[in-house]
Amino acid sequence: MTALLLRDLKLSVRAGGGALIGVLFFITVVAVIPFGVGPDLNLLSRIGPAIVWIGALLSSLLGLDRMFQTDREDGSLDLLLMQEHPLVLTVLVKCLAHWIGNGLPLVIASPLLGLFMNMNEVAIGATMLTLLVGTPALTFIGAVGAAVAVALPRGGLLVSILVLPLAVPVLIFGVGASYAAVEDPAPFMPPFLILVAITMFFAVLGPLGAALALRNAND
């Protein structure tokens, strides 16, 4: 299983891997917002956490469809399905590798983008923390969509549409917790803990659903 994790990580940084594309898209989306919104610093810092979160959500949708599709195209998926390791575990490891390759760079890039949005240190820290906790949930939810669409030749858009409704709660609580850290009356912990709960919930349900879909997707 460690071998699978390492292989997927290697693939995500080699040519054709999606790791950099996600970060570049994230940076592009967030960097153009100040130009569009104008130089109103108060407005920018007010919408900052939401924009950073939306950017992260969209960029993590970008690479999802390739999660199982590359393995299917070259026949590796067949061999993964045949092994004695439970398929759920295989999917979980692939999710982890996908998150380290595609999700973690977004978390690391987010403080820079926070500066673009004129956010203060607390807001930047809170956004980074909520992204760290929330983006794995996006990957786990996305794994289900990617597994359902694995047999479709251009399934990318379908994956995004399937995944988006389930990803909305993650966005709501992620942004909610980030705002609660800077705005005084709202407490930070409740939305943050709900976000943690969502991630843990989908860490169980996502691989299960994806494994089921992969078993049935074979033709």
Binding site: R7, D74, S76, L79, L80, E84, N218
Partner: protein, 214 residues
């Protein structure tokens, strides 16, 4: 050690592609599937490998140590039309990944990556990215994947596609060696593999009738 298929049938779309296929393969036996294109050879192999759901019947694996409800697929190596190797990674990286993922099945050990590359006649190029190799070399390296970990059953779907004559001989030698060690081979092929006492199963496709030539 035996692989038993009982009364297998599978569907492609609405129609039954084949039905009532039964066979039992003992250690050291080889079954060659022949038949024209679309006659269901690949489908049968994928059913045996557990990659396609059969309509009826079952495939079971029996050995002294195997649990009774074990999936036959776990005892199998499957070499399909696609090579299951990543073009971005080097040959050695590909092979060592599969070696550690597969592990070894009870009662045998796989070769090291270097030995396996040597065995298919491509010892010197394991450091190259897989994508740089020619189609024939890629096929050979995909075959080397079967050698790095031990599985008693080899399921080969057109193993000799894109291969030159020497490579076919190499493959035949390796298949014979596997059979001599008590392995089981199922292969779908158009070219004769040069195996003497192989059993042959002739597939005829949608007609639903099987002729067996033993």
């Amino acid at each position: 050690m035996r692989l038993i298929a009982e009364n297998l049938s599978a569907r492609r779309g609405e129609d039954l592609l084949f039905q009532g296929i039964s066979f039992a393969l003992e250690a050291g036996e080889c079954l060659i599937l022949t038949g024209r294109n679309g006659s269901g050879k690949s489908t049968l192999l994928r059913v045996i490998a557990g990659l396609l759901r059969q309509e009826t019947g079952k495939v079971t694996w029996h050995s002294a140590k195997a649990e009774s409800d074990m999936r036959a697929a776990e005892a199998c190596h499957y070499l399909g039309h696609r090579n299951a190797m990543k073009a971005e990674l080097t040959v050695a990286e590909n092979l060592s990944f599969w070696k550690s993922l597969f592990g070894d099945f009870e009662g045998g050990r796989g070769m090291s990556v270097g030995e396996a590359a040597e065995a298919v006649g491509l010892g010197g190029i394991a450091h190259l990215p897989f994508g740089y190799l020619s189609a024939g070399q890629q096929r050979r390296m995909a075959f080397a994947k079967l050698l790095v970990s031990h599985r008693p059953v080899w399921i080969l779907d057109e193993p000799t596609a894109a291969l030159d004559v020497t490579a076919e001989e190499v493959f035949t030698t390796l298949i014979k060696a596997h059979l001599a060690e008590g392995g089981i081979v199922l292969a779908a092929t158009h070219q004769p593999l040069g195996l003497e006492d192989a059993r042959e199963l002739k597939m005829v496709g949608f007609a639903g009738v099987m002729e067996e030539v033993w």
